[in-house]
Symmetry: C2
Subunit: 392 residues, 2 copies
């Protein structure tokens, strides 16, 4: 199954698969690029580095310091002898993207390269517009580049479980079979996204589905859940709780805390992407996988952290704060996630040991935490049209 | 029911409702602006006039000559004594849009102001990107302007029946109640759009639905069918057939001709918009109406025109040409359209007399028809990344 859809321009028989990782300077993209490089794929990273700019603008110093992409690639080369190619530019600039396609000639493109923060997309009008423009036009350009330059190239696109919202019926993987007035059809699963960021992912999914049908593009949409592990991103509930526990701040639960979501470990992100690449979609096929391994409510997560904290001698309290988001706080949630397991995914579950290591990690770096940043500052209702300076 | 949600800034009791018609220089928008002005509403037109530029660029001379918006407004004033205000600018420019809101203070916004041609959106990459950017960002800006400046203003947005595609089950009005694994929920109707233009409408619908929920916006989405009447637009099947019959060209049916769609008369477009304005959505409500009155397959339309032609002594033939679009050519189609009827819509059906007048109209203006333009020139599959010059 891991035989390559060969590098089109070469006469040689079994060359390595060439994988372009868009957004490879980011959290998931970097981990994926390293994993694929280690596994013997030829890897190129495409990134505008814009995420670093956002972090500076918002005063979000990462919990872990992030060295430059050039340093990281040099370090990787010296550790493993492997070269990862680097193309710095914006995929909304089609001339740049065309260059990267014609120079690298990918067999698969893993597309992580989007503005991926829901609160960021809800700060003000210009960030909402930026998020939708950047994500939708970037993905359109990738689709056109594949059609024009590498028509057999497999697109592996990162979506999010948040596209589905919280319907009162089971969430299926991308499609649902509906019987209505005596007739039956299998249709795209209805989406109910709840931020301009999540909406941009829904728009992407719709655009990709159309090009698969109209042009025969092969695509896999990985609807990822929330990752829980050593992440630099504020706002990921799990890490947020560990940080709060570490600095002695009560765990802040938005509203009733019944909000339930799917979670997965970063090690499973890279595993899932590799499985998708090794088993590509057929020409014209738009495959959707729900990429998470466990589901928890916010209250369940808080009590896991409270217990883990107690073992380390921390006295962890929980408080409820007004929910800045507009979302159901008590709802049914049952999302399917069997397709990646069928392809061979071996999940890393949120065991006690992972939680312990997260907490220890947060304790170690707690001096880097700006406690002003802990309380929610972006409100779904207070978003306005004036450009907003978020942190001082 | 036609009592006004009063002009917020004034102390006077029963002022006329103020309606902003975005895209009021266009085909539907102009007819709507005149109708509302005649009915006593205070009307303003907002338009960038970009549609006129497209027509020049593509060499699409209109069948009926279109005089300048300034001339038309002067003419309206001299005929009726009524003034329609005019704001010329691009709604993607938020500063301009904010100006129009603060100056005109609308109680309702009717939003026709989008790139509305599916073939145009499929010419090349840059037109696909333009269509999605123009439509999605324009609508986002309108939503932000309402939230910020006129939070009680009712948005009446033109969508299209094409958002639904051709599912194998009945098409409902915006939402569908699904029972799945023993649980039931009413969810947004699944969409399967089939051009970058139709996709832009789906993106709009999703964005609007979210802001109704998150911000309490009141909105009505009118999923309009294909209009059949004296239209200037090439590509509307019905008018296309009449033109072909008039110039003695065989009616060109794409592929098998089983493609079925909903149709309506332009007089019903303006009626529907007025009904929506007079009966506004509630705060937070996202209402969806399917706005068409009859459904026909392409073959049915061809045979109607053939019969009407025979009465006028024309010998009308039909030929099948390869379908440039990617779409099902034989499919189930049954779309609901009762909500506007319930509000009081009195449909103008495609009676013999309308068809006769369409045909006579086409015969009168047949010298203005460029026969090279009759055959399809935009292919859904041949779209590429190089800017394309369409007509010579
Ligand atoms: N982090 C999560 O829990 C999570 C959950 C679901 C889905 N996802 C998705 O996974 C992907 C990666 O997430 P992440 O946490 O690694 O985000 P990240 O912000 O760390 O990485 C995204 C990278 O993409 C780059 N980028 C953005 N726009 C670009 C453009 N126009 N051109 C070139 N590069 C661009 C950024 O510079 C950044 O390096 C995103 O698409 C995100 O939506 C993440
Ligand atoms: N014609 C149909 O059969 C049909 C069917 C379904 C839906 N609709 C919808 O009805 C609406 C009007 O259709 P129409 O046939 O009158 O189209 P049209 O092209 O004649 O009118 C659209 C008008 O909007 C203006 N416009 C476009 N982008 C703008 C922007 N960014 N800022 C300001 N003005 C802008 C154009 O200049 C034009 O005058 C469209 O949204 C269309 O999608 C039409």
């Amino acid at each position: 199954q891991s035989s390559s859809t060969s590098h089109q321009n070469s006469g040689e028989p079994s060359k390595q698969k060439r994988v372009m990782v868009i957004g490879g300077d980011g959290y998931c993209g970097w981990a994926t690029a390293l994993h694929l490089s280690k596994k013997g794929y030829d890897v190129a990273i495409v990134d505008s580095l814009i995420r670093r700019l956002f972090d500076h603008q918002l005063g979000l110093d990462s919990l872990t310091p992030i060295s430059s992409i050039h340093d990281r690639l040099r370090c990787w080369k010296s550790l493993t002898g492997k070269t990862i190619e680097l193309y710095i530019g914006d995929i909304c600039d089609f001339e740049f993207l065309a260059e990267t396609f014609n120079s690298f000639e990918p067999d698969a493109v893993v597309h992580f390269g989007e503005q991926r923060s829901a609160p960021y997309s809800m700060i003000d009008r210009s960030r909402a517009v930026f998020t939708q423009h950047n994500n939708v036009i970037g993905t359109l350009n990738v689709l056109f580049a594949i059609k024009e330059f590498r028509d057999q190239c497999h697109l592996v696109k990162l979506g999010t479980m948040g596209e589905y919202g919280t319907p009162n019926i089971d969430i299926e993987e991308g499609y649902i079979t509906i019987t209505h007035n005596g007739r039956t059809d299998t249709l795209p699963y209805p989406k109910q996204a709840s931020s301009f960021y999540h909406l941009s992912k829904v728009h992407d999914s719709n655009n990709i589905a159309f090009t698969c049908k109209a042009w025969g593009i092969r695509a896999t949409d990985l609807n990822q859940g929330v990752r829980c592990t050593k992440s630099s991103a504020i706002g990921l509930i799990m890490m947020g709780f560990c940080v709060q526990a570490a600095v002695g701040h009560p765990l802040t639960v938005y509203g009733k805390g019944g909000q339930t979501r799917g979670y997965l470990d970063i090690r499973d992100t890279v595993q899932c992407v590799e499985l998708a690449i090794a088993n590509p979609a057929q020409p014209g096929e738009f495959r959707v996988f729900n990429q998470f391994t466990e589901q928890f409510s916010v209250n369940e997560l808080a009590s896991l952290v409270t217990k883990a904290g107690a073992k380390l001698g921390l006295d962890v309290k929980t408080i409820s704060v007004p929910n800045p988001r507009v979302e159901a706080e008590e709802h049914y949630y049952n999302a399917k996630h069997t397709k990646l397991i069928e392809l061979g995914l071996q999940p890393h579950l949120l065991s006690d040991s992972l939680l312990d290591s997260l907490l220890n990690f947060a304790i170690k770096f707690k001096d880097r935490v700006d406690t002003k940043q802990i309380m929610p500052s972006v409100s779904w209702k207070k978003i306005g049209v004036k450009p907003k300076t978020v942190a001082a």
